[in-house]
Symmetry: C2
Subunit: 243 residues, 2 copies
C-alpha cells in the first residue's frame, strides 16, 4: 500500500493510496492516533471513490463517529483504466436492452462477474488498511447501495471481519443467493419509487438476508433520491454495532 | 377535564384525568412549567392507557425529549365499562372467523365503527389538554400501532393540529382510504413476520399514505415483537418534526 497524497480539512485527513492496481482513499480524524472502527464504502455504477456523495458521507462518519472510512475504485471506474472485457459486455447488454430484453437479469449477471474480481480486491485492501497504525484491526462495517450493494453483498457474505452493513437499492435477482449467507446486522435502504430496481425485487432482497438483526428503511423517491437523514441514521447504526 | 391523581417519579409527573366518560393519563416533565409539544398515544387492542409498553414509551418521550404525552382508554378497554354493542359485534366476528371467514375485513369494519366514536373523543381530549398551562397549544404528534393505527389513521387524517405521526402494524383494508388524506410526515412500523397483518397489507397501507415525507421501518419478528430501538428512533422523529 503506497500513499500518494495527504491533505486535511475541517478535522478530516484524506490520504490517497495505491494497492497493486487498486486506487483508493482513506479518511481518518485529523490529529489522532491509534486503532478505530473502519467503514468500507462501495460507490455506485459510473461513479468513483471520490464521488461527492461518497466524500460527504465519509466525512460525516469520520467527524460524527470517529471512524476510519475507505473507498476504492471499482474496475473500469475513477482512476482505473477502461476494462475491455467489461466494456464489451456492457455494450452488448445495452444493445440487448434496446432490442427489448429485460435489464435486471443482465445487470445481475454483470455484477456477479465484477464481484468475482472485487471481493478478493476489497479483502486485500481491508487486510492492508488494518495494518496501519491509525486504523488497526478493530471492527469493520460496510456501506454500499446500488452497484455498491451488488458488489457489497458478496463481499459482506465472504468477509468475516465485517460486523455490520448498510446495503440497499439492489434486487434479489442479483444478490439473493449471497444475501442468504449474511448473518451480521444489516440496515437495508429502499427507494419506494425506484425506477431501476422493481419494488418487489428490493423487498425480496431484504427478505433473503439471513441476519436476525436487519431493518428495512423505505422512503418515497427515485433511485438517486436517498434522503439526507438516512446518512445520520446509518451513522447511529454503525455506532451501535461497531463501537 | 377533572384530575383525579398526581404522582411523580424519576423526573416524570403522571396525572390521571377524566373528561366526560373518557379516562386518560397525562405525563409531563417534573418541576417544569410552560408549553411543550404534545404526543398522543393510542393503545393496542385489549390493552389500555397504562399498558406497560405505553407507559415505558411515554416516559422515554418525556425524559428524552421534554414532551407532554397523553393516552386515553378506547371504549370497552381499561377503566371504561364494557360496551354491549361492541362486545356483541366482537363475539359475532369471532364466530364468523371460527366458521372460516377471513378476519381482516371483519377487523377493518369493526375498527371503522369504533373510530366513529374515538375520532371526536380524541379531538375533544386534545382541545382540553392544550388548555393546560403545562401543555399549551404547541405542535402535536400521534403514536399508535395495531389498534392504535386503525383508530389513529382516521384521527390523524381528521385533525389538522397533528403535525407528525408514528403508525404501523395495520393494513390497507382497514385504513387505506383515510391514509390517502394524511399529508404530514409519517414513520410507519412494519413487522416482517406479522401473523395478524399480512405483509402485503402493511406495505399497501404505507403506500396509501399521501405524505411526501414518510419512512417505512420494517424489522423481522411477529406482531408483538417491535424492537426496542424503534422507540428511540420514534423519539428522534418527533424531535425533528415537533421541536
Amino acid at each position: 500500500m503506497r500513499f500518494i497524497s495527504q491533505t486535511s480539512s475541517d478535522g478530516v485527513t484524506e490520504q490517497l493510496f495505491i494497492l497493486g492496481e487498486i486506487p483508493g482513499v482513506l479518511w481518518t480524524p485529523e490529529n489522532t492516533a491509534g486503532a478505530r472502527p473502519l467503514i468500507l464504502m462501495g460507490h455506485g455504477g459510473g461513479r468513483h471513490k471520490k464521488d461527492p456523495d461518497v466524500v460527504a458521507r465519509a466525512r460525516r462518519f469520520v467527524t460524527g463517529g470517529g471512524f476510519a472510512v475507505a473507498a476504492v475504485d471499482v474496475p473500469g471506474h475513477g482512476d482505473r483504466p477502461k476494462d475491455e472485457r467489461y466494456d464489451r459486455i456492457a455494450t452488448e447488454n445495452q444493445a440487448r436492452v434496446t432490442a427489448g430484453e429485460e435489464p435486471a437479469p443482465l445487470i445481475a449477471a454483470f455484477q456477479a462477474l465484477v464481484a468475482r474480481q472485487t471481493v478478493p480486491e476489497w479483502r486485500t485492501v481491508l487486510r492492508e488498511l488494518q495494518r496501519l497504525e491509525h486504523v488497526g484491526a478493530g471492527p469493520v462495517g460496510y456501506w454500499g447501495v446500488s452497484l455498491g450493494c451488488g458488489l457489497g453483498v458478496p463481499f459482506v457474505a465472504a468477509e468475516p471481519r465485517v460486523r455490520a452493513a448498510v446495503l440497499g437499492l439492489g434486487g434479489a435477482l442479483a444478490s439473493a443467493e449471497a444475501a442468504a449467507r449474511i448473518t451480521v446486522p444489516v440496515r437495508f435502504l429502499l427507494q419506494w419509487d425506484d425506477e431501476r430496481v422493481p419494488r418487489a425485487q428490493g423487498l425480496a432482497l431484504f427478505d433473503a438476508l439471513a441476519s436476525a438483526g436487519k431493518t428495512l428503511h423505505a422512503n418515497p423517491g427515485r433511485h438517486g433520491e436517498l434522503p439526507a437523514f438516512e446518512a445520520d441514521s446509518s451513522l447511529r447504526f454503525f455506532q451501535r454495532h461497531l463501537c
